[in-house]
Symmetry: C2
Subunit: 547 residues, 2 copies
């Protein structure tokens, strides 16, 4: 079926012929109802939260693994490049937009079966279309005692999509790729591979023991164009007997380093089992409200005096953090004591919240302020979703912050791509070391402010030894010239951070070519890509080093 002799077409008229031929075959395979070719839909799919230039000639919607295999065989036959998306909610990194021009989108959202589930061994096996909300509802509907880990990217985020981008959430299972097992992957030429023990007939440990026997290959199918993951087991966390969230802040801009150095030992010794989320004032503010155009007198970036007054009004700090404590009441009590001790003298406010206390606060926020001295009234809107995320409850709340610089409020049905919300995420990894974290955020802050953007920054203690930092470049795409300014800012930021040794854990679908080179690794990946995908049809350019 694959004709190796037919030349790869680079001439546009020839590629037009190729794509028409491929589309005929795909339509015969999937039916016309699963091929999208209308211009508005294609334009929407090629729109991200920043400027992109890759057009999408069509969208295919296969319904099962067999169809994915055949879709890829047809792509090889006609040498037409394709790009898979699961949920397509890759906000800040390129949404649905492919990593190369004229890729046909393979939308996997119809493949949304939950194919296995085990309460005792605590896992769920899903297809790429399964969303956080769907999995959450499934578990609740069954009366399961298991918790999902959810990201802040919204209820419609695909579990597989986020994991293959190596995203993270907020519970002890926050580092997603560390908590999955047994992939089913369709390779670029249409063959299917199962990984770990799943590859063996009748294996009992396919969903349980990730390494299997022989080379462990799962990592190859994350952040790559080496295959389409069509099934994955996601491990789930048993709900603890007791859960408590903690929130604290530091009113000093120098407050970050002491926080990181105080918490690292607790992460390392297992007292803190989940990711700790530390955010600066800009990040909190963009979660609380849109840009204060009036107070800022229309000026950007946000004047310091406005930030000072907003910080006072809403009572958030220069640095603000949240995390969860999970366990029996005694385990949580001891963790609380240790957190309190570690942070004593280093933070300005430390608060522990459980469900009972939070419900009370919601009902009597004014009285609560009298008792505890902390005004939760405005913060509660922000606290509830974070409190939920720490227990793996999906929320669309963080999505609202993509409307930060817009002049009209977020609509009920938010769609940052459609609404011209500008958002570019740069995500350097930094050692869990106060001094280095401080250096990084100061550097990033200066660069963003110089380019006219507010440096909204989060640092997540995603592992015991490292922080994943997310720097948001947020703007209004409908304001003339902002797309270009944001792109320039992102370029300078990425480059300057890399020069200082802070490399990103994740790239936008448009920025892989800017990745610094590393000759041995790059050559190896090119050899793999050449062997696996001789016609270069699958996600060309995706996390691919430039030649």
């Amino acid at each position: 079926m694959i004709t190796a002799s037919s030349a790869v077409s680079t001439d546009p008229s020839q590629s037009g012929v190729a794509i028409e031929g491929a589309l005929r075959n795909w339509e015969a395979l999937l039916g016309p109802e699963n091929i999208v070719c209308d211009a508005p839909a294609l334009r929407a799919a090629s729109t991200a939260t920043f400027s992109t230039s890759h057009a999408i000639p069509a969208i295919l919607r296969p319904g099962n693994r067999r169809e994915v295999e055949l879709v890829l065989r047809i792509a090889n036959q006609w040498h037409v490049p394709v790009y898979p998306i699961s949920g397509g909610r890759n906000w800040g990194y390129g949404s649905r937009v492919p990593s190369a021009d004229r890729c046909v989108l393979i939308d996997l959202s119809r493949m949304n079966r939950i194919v296995d589930f085990d309460e005792d061994l605590a896992y769920i096996t899903v297809e790429p279309g399964v969303t956080q909300q769907q999995a959450y509802d499934f578990l609740r509907g069954r009366g399961s005692r298991l918790w999902l880990d959810a990201t802040g990217a919204g209820p419609d985020t695909s579990l597989i999509g986020n994991t293959v981008e190596r995203g993270f959430g907020h519970t002890p299972y926050g580092d997603h790729f560390s908590h999955v097992c047994g992939l089913e992957v369709v390779l670029p030429t249409g063959q299917t591979v199962e990984t770990g023990f799943s590859r063996f007939e009748g294996s009992r440990s396919g969903a349980l023991h990730r390494w299997g026997v022989g080379p462990f290959i799962d990592g190859l199918f994350t952040q790559s164009g080496f295959g389409i993951v069509t099934r994955m087991t996601v491990w789930l966390m048993p709900a603890p007997e007791y859960f408590q969230a903690y929130f604290f802040r530091s009113d000093s801009p120098d407050g970050l380093a002491p926080i990181i150095d105080a918490l690292r030992p607790l992460r390392l010794n297992g007292t803190l089992r989940s990711t700790v989320h530390v955010v600066n004032d800009y990040k909190v503010l963009s979660g609380l409200q849109q840009y204060p155009w009036e107070e800022a007198g229309g000026e950007v970036p946000l004047p310091d005096r406005v930030m000072q007054s907003l910080r006072k009004r809403h009572q958030f700090g220069a640095w603000n953090a949240s995390g969860g404590l999970y366990g029996t009441r005694a385990q949580v009590a001891e963790a609380r004591r240790l957190v309190r001790k570690a942070l004593a003298g280093r933070v300005d406010k430390l608060q522990f919240l459980d469900e009972r206390k939070l419900r009370l606060a919601e009902r009597f926020s004014k009285a609560y302020q009298l008792i505890t001295g902390w005004d939760l009234s405005r913060a509660l809107e922000l606290v509830r979703p974070v409190f939920g995320l720490l227990q793996g409850v999906p929320t669309s709340q963080p999505l609202a912050s993509t409307y930060w610089r817009k002049k009209s409020p977020p609509p009920a049905q938010m769609d940052p791509d459609r609404d011209g919300c500008g958002l570019l995420w740069c995500s350097p990894v930094v050692p869990a070391d106060g001094q280095q974290a401080d250096e990084l955020v100061r550097m990033a802050g200066r660069i963003l402010l110089d380019h006219g953007f507010e440096p909204a920054i989060s640092l997540t203690m995603v592992t015991e030894r490292s922080l994943a930092c997310v720097i948001s470049i947020a703007y209004d795409r409908h304001t003339e010239g902002e797309d270009e300014k944001a792109a320039a800012c992102y370029r300078e930021l990425s480059q300057r951070l890399a020069e200082s040794g802070y490399y990103s854990y994740r790239l936008t679908s448009q920025s892989a070519s800017a990745m610094p080179s590393s000759p041995g690794y790059d050559a190896l990946l090119r050899a793999f890509k050449g062997g696996l995908d001789p016609h270069g049809v699958l996600a060309p350019g995706r996390y691919q080093p430039s030649e």
Copy 2:
């Protein structure tokens, strides 16, 4: 340098020419002092703890990464297969013996530098020659508060060697491959690749954040012939404020299932952070003493009445377990309460030991028995090394059990290969589910007894959801016919377990060809191997599916 046109020689006389040419080049590179060709040394290196038939023509001892690269280039030039070993202590799985005949051994033990170390971020970066004991001594010598994870394979075991075989130990860092980062790997053709963030110039997170950016490839270099790992960062665990070991036993052969089902929830909810080690009576006995030839009247396998009387005499159960509790005193106290509660009514004896109590017991074991009712006098010899292993202290104690069926006692300098100790390890993974664990050990027990061997079995709760089971076939290689009987037993055992869905996490260097096939995965690996190692010179056959 690599001449692709020179044909691969299969004719022995031609391969003789090739190896002579290669040896001349290797000698010029490494010096004659680093080439071993004398017959006794080569015979020793090709001797394992079971029957093997692969001869070794020479041993090379490169001293640094550059020499490894050049050694591989010469191997490619002459098409001579090579096989790397780090420490060569792959007991029960083939020791130093290569996975194919006439491979030149690359002994990496001279490369034993500790190249980086960080107390705060808790890691050590090592070369393949660095042993458990060396790393342990290094840490103690520096007054470090960090703990290594050690396996029971003895002080001279290589950290890298064990990790690339995906071995495990006993502390919270017991699953070794989950706790390493940033590999340096020499590919079969002699190019070098660095993985994760280590691949970038000046990166600060190379030792800290394993995924890096782009495809994660570290897993390819475990259980494979895809490269020689010449450097690796190993994460270390900060010593907890307080440590306590627990030991318990069940006197019933039906005791395993309730133990597993009781402990799984504690593993899943993070109360038990380390591997729990559950062993049957045969396993305990082979740790305590050699085969009781006299009591058994020379009969094998061990008569049931003898086991009954030995169990009573030494006070061990049909099932016996150990594990560690790590944390503050309060954290350990709460874990102790939960372990006690979970095991209540399910086990016959549960004992918690800390350093103070153990020292007391060692000094006053008789008095201790009066106070606690538990006779530690004989068990103490076994307890001390386990107590140490739970804190990452290397020990050679478990090695003594390889002398189980010998008729003379283990010498001061133990060498199971030299001394004709027969040992074959079969290591199926089983779900952390009591009923399945029970089914597996009953099946394995019957097969071993039928073949005339004592089924010494351990089950390690190495992850939250799975157990790594190690079944020992132990015998005396100097007894006529035993090699063949053991090989037949191993074959039947592996096959019957696989038929029931229990596949091994690890294979002997001689048994990869018996691995069940999985077409997609096998084809993919063959393609990788062909691309990476066009002349098939590196570790041919190692974890390689048969054609």
